[in-house]
Subunit: 930 residues, 2 copies
Amino acid sequence: MAKKVKYVYFFGGKKADGKAEMKSLLGGKGANLAEMVNIGLPVPAGYTITTEVCTYYYANKRSYPKELKAQVLDALKKVENAMGAKFGDPKNPLLVSIRSGARASMPGMMDTILNLGLNDTTVKGVIEKTNGNTRFAYDSYRRFVQMYGDVVLGLKPVDKHEIDPFEAIIEAKKEARGIHFDTELTAEDLMELVAEFKAAIKEKTGHDFPEDPHTQLWGAIGAVFGSWMNDRAKVYRKLNGIPESWGTAVNVQSMVFGNMGEDSGTGVAFTRDPATGENIFYGEYLFNAQGEDVVAGTRTPHPIAALKDDNPVIYKQLDNIRKILEKHYKDMMDIEFTIQQGKLWMLQCRVGKRTGFAAVKMAVDMVKEKLIGKEEAIMRIEPNQLNQLLRPVFDANEKKKAIEEGKLLAKGLNAGPGAASGRVALSAQDAEEMAAKGEKVILVRIETSPEDIKGMNASEGILTAKGGMTSHAALVARQMGKVCVAGCGALKINYAERSIRVDKLPDVVVKEGDFISIDGSTGEVIVGAINTKPSEVIQVLINKTLDPKDSPVFQTYDSLMKWADSYRKLGIRTNADQPDQASNAIAFGAQGIGLCRTEHMFFEGDRILHVRKMILSDSVEGRKEALAELLPFQREDFRGIFKAMKGYPVTVRTLDPPLHEFLPQKESDIEVLAQELNIPVAKVHERIHSLHEFNPMLGFRGCRLGVVYPEITEMQARAIFEAAAEVMAEGYKVKPEIMIPLVGDVSELKLQEDIVRRVAAEVMAEKKVKIQYLVGTMIELPRAALVADQIATRAEFFSFGTNDLTQTTFGLSRDDSGKFLPLYVEQELLPNDPFEALDQNGVGQLLEMGTQRGRKTRPDLKVGICGEHGGEPSSVEFCHRTGLNYVSCSPFRVPIARLAAARAVVRELKPGAKKTKPVKKAVKTTKKKK
Amino acid sequence: MAKKVKYVYFFGGKKADGKAEMKSLLGGKGANLAEMVNIGLPVPAGYTITTEVCTYYYANKRSYPKELKAQVLDALKKVENAMGAKFGDPKNPLLVSIRSGARASMPGMMDTILNLGLNDTTVKGVIEKTNGNTRFAYDSYRRFVQMYGDVVLGLKPVDKHEIDPFEAIIEAKKEARGIHFDTELTAEDLMELVAEFKAAIKEKTGHDFPEDPHTQLWGAIGAVFGSWMNDRAKVYRKLNGIPESWGTAVNVQSMVFGNMGEDSGTGVAFTRDPATGENIFYGEYLFNAQGEDVVAGTRTPHPIAALKDDNPVIYKQLDNIRKILEKHYKDMMDIEFTIQQGKLWMLQCRVGKRTGFAAVKMAVDMVKEKLIGKEEAIMRIEPNQLNQLLRPVFDANEKKKAIEEGKLLAKGLNAGPGAASGRVALSAQDAEEMAAKGEKVILVRIETSPEDIKGMNASEGILTAKGGMTSHAALVARQMGKVCVAGCGALKINYAERSIRVDKLPDVVVKEGDFISIDGSTGEVIVGAINTKPSEVIQVLINKTLDPKDSPVFQTYDSLMKWADSYRKLGIRTNADQPDQASNAIAFGAQGIGLCRTEHMFFEGDRILHVRKMILSDSVEGRKEALAELLPFQREDFRGIFKAMKGYPVTVRTLDPPLHEFLPQKESDIEVLAQELNIPVAKVHERIHSLHEFNPMLGFRGCRLGVVYPEITEMQARAIFEAAAEVMAEGYKVKPEIMIPLVGDVSELKLQEDIVRRVAAEVMAEKKVKIQYLVGTMIELPRAALVADQIATRAEFFSFGTNDLTQTTFGLSRDDSGKFLPLYVEQELLPNDPFEALDQNGVGQLLEMGTQRGRKTRPDLKVGICGEHGGEPSSVEFCHRTGLNYVSCSPFRVPIARLAAARAVVRELKPGAKKTKPVKKAVKTTKKKK
């Protein structure tokens, strides 16, 4: 016969079958209950039915393995022994709770049944054991029957607006008694309620309430396993990336009661402050209460510090347990405890959830306390948690109040974290004008386009009705460090009426100029103003309004970042188009610019007119003339960036977007343009028409522009090298890296490279200076990755443009994917939105292939990534494993990338971890190839 | 010292240094001159300067290897010996011609100099040698000076409209003499002309005409090498895919003269009829003439047969040479000969160009004559030449006349070969209505869309102003076997005025209803009607109006196809959506349908209304209701196709295009639709707006539709299986293969496959029948190829959709690429338009990867291709080498694919050829997987 499978793990007394490491099998709760027993803490005895039973249950039409029943009975016997009571015993009954317990915490998502084992017989035993506390016994009994009816027998209404049948009975009873609170119900009332509850169950289900405790037990176990698949749990799993396959364990545990009188009580606590990270005992408790009373908010609990006076013995025990737990788990723990008639019982312990602030502080503190090492500290902080240290925040109370007052207008995508409040501007121009008058502005658009850049820059935050996490608005906002809520589909933006409405709140009309507040960390859009403040880290690093010595928050941030830098191997660069962005990025620790988009500069001031003139020219000469007018502006832009970057390398991408993006769309703008350029309106129309594209993403853009109009590349190269020469003459170091976009074949790169190198040689001869520069390409088309070996014969560096590479590899337009991609993620067809986290399974293969093939041709090929993924932690780790030299991300994500890069290294230090591919040292300078 | 390189190859007398196999080094002409010498034919002696010298010349600033001079002098000596004359000798001068000779024929593209060696001294020797023929001598002399001045000294005007300075002098002379023809010029006139020519040279260049024959010689050699890079030659090379790196050889050959009197003459001939392929001696000749007189058309040459009477001795010699050549070369040869004073000289021989008709007939005949084997016959015919045997053709004389009369309106892309003539219809509806009245119609549109399908089907041909070789119009036209000229940008189509104009012919207005003729093999668009007729092969196979016994053309076609089938290993399927297309494809030899696009059926009759109703539904129920109305139509469609395919497998693709393609665009149509469906107009607008996409190619289409609206897949599956069951009940065999489009991840396929298999099981249970079917997917996204191993866990077959795969791999929209792709091909950035010939370097890697990875998971995976490339010969050969099971192409390309597939096999039979990857036998039936 096959080896007997152990499905049930006992815990209690001094020894448990399980331990903390067995979370996959026992769930988090079960494993920690076992662990607490093993480290000598007082835990009510019980047993855990493993997650394997859950898997079996769903694979076998909701049935159990045949061995289960015997193992449950066996464990129950041990529990009875440990607690000195007997399940179903009329004199000394053992009561149990049945709770779910998955590998990852899913608070409140699944079902729980308390006080199980009570029936008309055992309730008498409880009265006896509690020295005649009839009210307690029947209160426990009626709670059990109600819970069992709701959860196991399915009487809880699905619709939240319907009233629970048992609550209805209680309300009727209170009315009959002329009382207002449950606590005013007498023992007799409660006894009657039990009978009435049972009658209701009989009426609604056609069956009697089960009196047999074993029947009760199996019913409850089935209900808890069944709740793994309820809608709430499914949604929660999807939101939190918990696989359905994990299943839940079921914990059956002896009941202890905090409501047995004033020598009883219950509480929840954290071993440190989960909001600030401070090393204080943090929590609350209530005497003569059950756990739900603490959480429900019907009574106001006391802070845990008060226990020191109220019950110094218990407090000392608890504080001792706190120390044991931190020493044992080396982390901040979240605990639940109950005091039953003066005896302390531990009901739960798990690693405590914490804010980003707290995560950083605890990790840094624990290193100082020698509880953990730096590597562990690095692994303790999810990189995205750093956002909290960087972003402006709303005053928490003000926001809560506003939401309670019904001012939550809608919820969109949390596309650019932070909080912003300001007056609504419905056009970029309005935003600029309002900002010029000193107003704080929120730019609200159906969607944004490159023409809106200046208005976006002038705004505190950007709110759009359309577009996803990587829409234009989201991308630019993150790069600018602006708060952004994108794709808020509920908003009905009426440009003509200058107003915003939502269906949900028919009476609310937000007019242009009204105040609105957006939370880019949650996606909330709130009517009215809410106060915000910049984070301390920003005050120190960017605003320079705070001395680092005066900011403990900054100091912990800074310690963590220094540790991260001591581990990480990946370089971190930034995507920045303007000197101020570049300076911010350096303050955040960037070591270069990985993507400087030259076209953003085209919209500044009068430049757009020259750009349009160039586009509307029929001849090379006309284009060259317009480009010559643009040259000084571009040169000035590059001067600013080169100076700001202080000798760090600057990767400049030549013109990329389709030309139609630069032409006006509104008829009035078209007429103005025709007048300004002194050409017929029809000609502007004709050009707009001829530049129209069915699929602009796959159209006339990237290096295709430079191939057809080499004079554009030539002008841009000249601007770069002239700026470099001038800035070098002023004593700055400059390392330009010219990047040719959208290359699909080495022949395109060759053509563009030849222009760049020729212009470089010309400028160097003219200015009598030697400029160290590189010429490379973006790898953003699948074909480029496939023929990377050929492309590397010409490219001195690769930079993966994973935004476009994701679009082309998936055949997926990020602007159009809103119709189905959310459903894909929801239905788990894809593990993530591939525009947020790099698709390692597919697109990742092209990164690996491109890197390997490129380095095969040119072993010292410098390889980076400059898509949005460069600031996404899982993608950064992938880039490290793939052997990239650097990642480049928006300035405000630089700290996140630094931490993620360090975590990738630390992860590999673990025994048995997959090692990264060796990274060759990248070329430092360039020499003209033959 | 290094081994001496041989740069100069002598030929003449009985022995030549070179031979026919040395074409790369000696060029075609030089190699064949050497070969003719070697097989004993009379060839004027000469020598060939190799192509290596050309390469050296361009790599070294137009200079020669230092060894060249001595080798040339040495070869010249041998020529003098062979011909018994001496270069520059005043008494017995040797005159030579200097001609280019590249590896591939480039007729007329490079320069030639004749009669070189003449000067004021040697001309006397010529007079002496010709017994005082002063006129001949000076005529030769003036021709040489003129040619030398034009070509070597660069006096020929670049602008065709300018007059040649030498021609101007001749005209003046004739005017002065009062004569009309050159032949009327006397010896004295010619002598004066020589002097006047030289004076003009002195005046225009500042230098004297070189009298020294060696100076003349090196000047001419340099001019011929230089002409390799003239604009004409560059364009020709690009058009014909001849690499620049090949270079040209230069042939210096003793002059022989056909204009030395009535015992002299010259001619050109083919060893068989190059137009029909008939085995007759075909050519023409003139007595007392130079080669150029035959070609120039100033005198009417005699057919070669006339020589039999005019000069039986020479005829017999020539006919004998014809036989020797065919026996030696085993091919039809194109020859040039000259008779000098009764002696026959061979000046040139090369494999003759021929029509498709002739190619097939000659190849088949030569097999029968045992000149060549079947394999050689298969390799002799470029698959695309078969088009000539399939397509309707214009009456050649009528077309020529029309063009001469200035009726050529414009030229577009030859997108759908064949000839069509009919009345202009400017909308699909007009086309249908006119066709219903029995008119032949040419549908002329700016571009076509799926809504135009019925109108296209009703038309003889389709002409569009926009779109490339793989635009909608081109794709559908080829599939339908319609003539198509696409992307004819010169056309100004005015829908409002119902007219077509071109700038070039301002007086011409083609109105709707006027006759127009389009040649889809050349791209010509001609005003007025030209008679056409279907090809004999079509008359036999499709129209069944001709008995095969009465068509020798058909018989040769049929022989060739049978031989091809005996070699090829690739299966050939067709892309067909309608029973008539399917039947045609079978007649052409298709062995199944590789792509049946279900959406084309959606536009038939009233169906579009149901489709629109479905799209406009807000609820699953509404959609299901509309789909239920569509079901009977789809089922009927599939019944027709299954019956037509007679048991061959039919691959049905589920709905693919974005839904907005099914909605009307015109306001009036929108209003009609709203009325028909009894919904507000605004709702239709709203839906159209919500379905709008920035990049529809990358949008909500393919299996994404079926994922979001599973009810569509369900309906289509039901229609397929119900049709199969019904048709099986009527005694037909059916093999449906359901193909899920645009899969990027196995999860999508799984979802769709589950629906298909469930519906299949339901229908089989309902109808009590067992249907053999497969479920597979298109691989048309790079990601699908990358994760093919995962996808193959579910897919029973792959079909590469190389149209979309090319678009996504290159990031290139075929609808938008017109702005730059032609330039890319012209500038040789890409060797071909990747939408015409599969990009083997890039996209091809994904085919290999997808096939290998798929077969790793499922060794018997059936793999095909259903993109347009499936009918393009080089792509078909690639598919063979990659180990695909089949290619699928439009019905009219099936014969081409059959031949190409055979050629791929034959090519591998050659010693040292790369062998194909082994093809596993594909699965025949399917079993439900666990």
